[in-house]
Symmetry: C2
Subunit: 304 residues, 2 copies
Amino acid sequence: MTNNTRWIGVDWGTSNMRAYVMDGRDQVIATLRSDRGIGQLAKDEIEPALLALVSDYLPADLVTPVIACGMVGSRQGWTEAEYESVPCEPPVQSETVTAPCRDARISVRIIRGVKQEKPADIMRGEETQIAGYLSVNPKFDGVLCLPGTHTKWVRISAGEIVSFQTFMTGELFALLAGQSVLRHSMATEGWDEEAFTAALSDTLSKPESVAARLFNVRADNMLSNPSPIAARARVSGLLIGMELAAARPYWLGQEVAIIGSRGLSQAYRSALANQGVDPQVTDADAMTLAGLKSAFMASKETAK
Amino acid sequence: MTNNTRWIGVDWGTSNMRAYVMDGRDQVIATLRSDRGIGQLAKDEIEPALLALVSDYLPADLVTPVIACGMVGSRQGWTEAEYESVPCEPPVQSETVTAPCRDARISVRIIRGVKQEKPADIMRGEETQIAGYLSVNPKFDGVLCLPGTHTKWVRISAGEIVSFQTFMTGELFALLAGQSVLRHSMATEGWDEEAFTAALSDTLSKPESVAARLFNVRADNMLSNPSPIAARARVSGLLIGMELAAARPYWLGQEVAIIGSRGLSQAYRSALANQGVDPQVTDADAMTLAGLKSAFMASKETAK
């Protein structure tokens, strides 16, 4: 096969991995996906897992630089890339950490995460999305919302991450939808905007009631058999409403941009629109790629 | 074997079953336990599951009355015992429903659950504990708190259930401790009263922040490796604090009694004591048995 690979960017989280094979003009040659996340790999399985995914794209007689972000840099990952402390720029530029490699065809650098001492908080992976966003929007001053399993709200000023707060909203939703007594009441997909908005408004005004409102969904199901799609949107609305109540200092009167996957971003956009905020929405994967590019370009400059 | 069995009381929930074999003076001859809960049994497996547990105690030539409460009376149970609506006395007296039996040695009656239309809420099993409590404390006027997977707060007046509210607090705790990213940070047992009280106070005053405070537990674990026992008590305190914030109208300035298992009752007792409430604590199993006795005695009178 022809082989124009110049470098490889890797987004490697707990449950899966994505590799972007890049050419010399920083264009994507191939996007490769694997479900071999860091959470399921022993230390000595990590380099082989990467090679299994990308080896077809490695030129034989060159060292291909690999830039990686995410849980691959945690203590349980390839090598620990220690957290930078806020306030700081997203640590993609000249702050990466070299990972030990056995295979001479690759050299691997890992992007550090970001920590906050008080209240205790951490991110790994989101800092790269933030770097990507700031590379495209260098003058952005405001708040980034990165919805996901662990949704992050991040204050950005003068190109720095000033402070942030993580909410377990996405993981709570997944546990309730998949493992709790509510699984019998909720559809696995589908959306009901009206049910979402009503539930959102409910916990925005009475966030303390969420554990009771969740059981109402179950009781309604037993007493009147309502739509499982509405129940799904309602549970989402209850949890996001509670989050917005706590995150109010992050969005009230602020310029907010959302970086996320399409469905979840739309739910947050709709929720914020209900509160008079009109956030810009940007695709998370595109921002990850942009952040990895920033890191690669910085590493070239460092190497000069 | 000698056989003095007069009747059998059964507490049959989603995940397990307990049978009390009673003599003619309403004393317990034997307490039998099984993990064959209603949740795992098909319709035609229900009667055989009961017989497998109690048949050694059935006199051959008599019909032994069986009184059952819990999910055995749900649509997925033996036969549906429809809910009574609040306000109502706990429906153990002459409100039971006959379940069809193949075996001539038993006749089975099931205690109805209780429902509330608005906000939608249901109980099955707790009504029997409440009946038991009222049989021992007939003049009680106040609020019963029944902590468990789905904790119930119940207003009692003039012997009636006036209204109630269910919180998914216990199920949320079990999901977070067993299935979430927090499982790595939390001990499976043990208690730290100081961590519990601090977390309780935190979400009592800022209940909306619970999804963020939960992630703080994870971040603390990554940054400073604190005690997993303290983390366990902290998660419990965060969730119970949120519940108490919402249940305030139930306990503030009220006479409160707790009906529950020992460990959980103590956590709720401690939480309420922090708020200046001094609840009486009563054992849930003893109250279930007392409620089943009330139902059996009422069924004898009905039969006269």
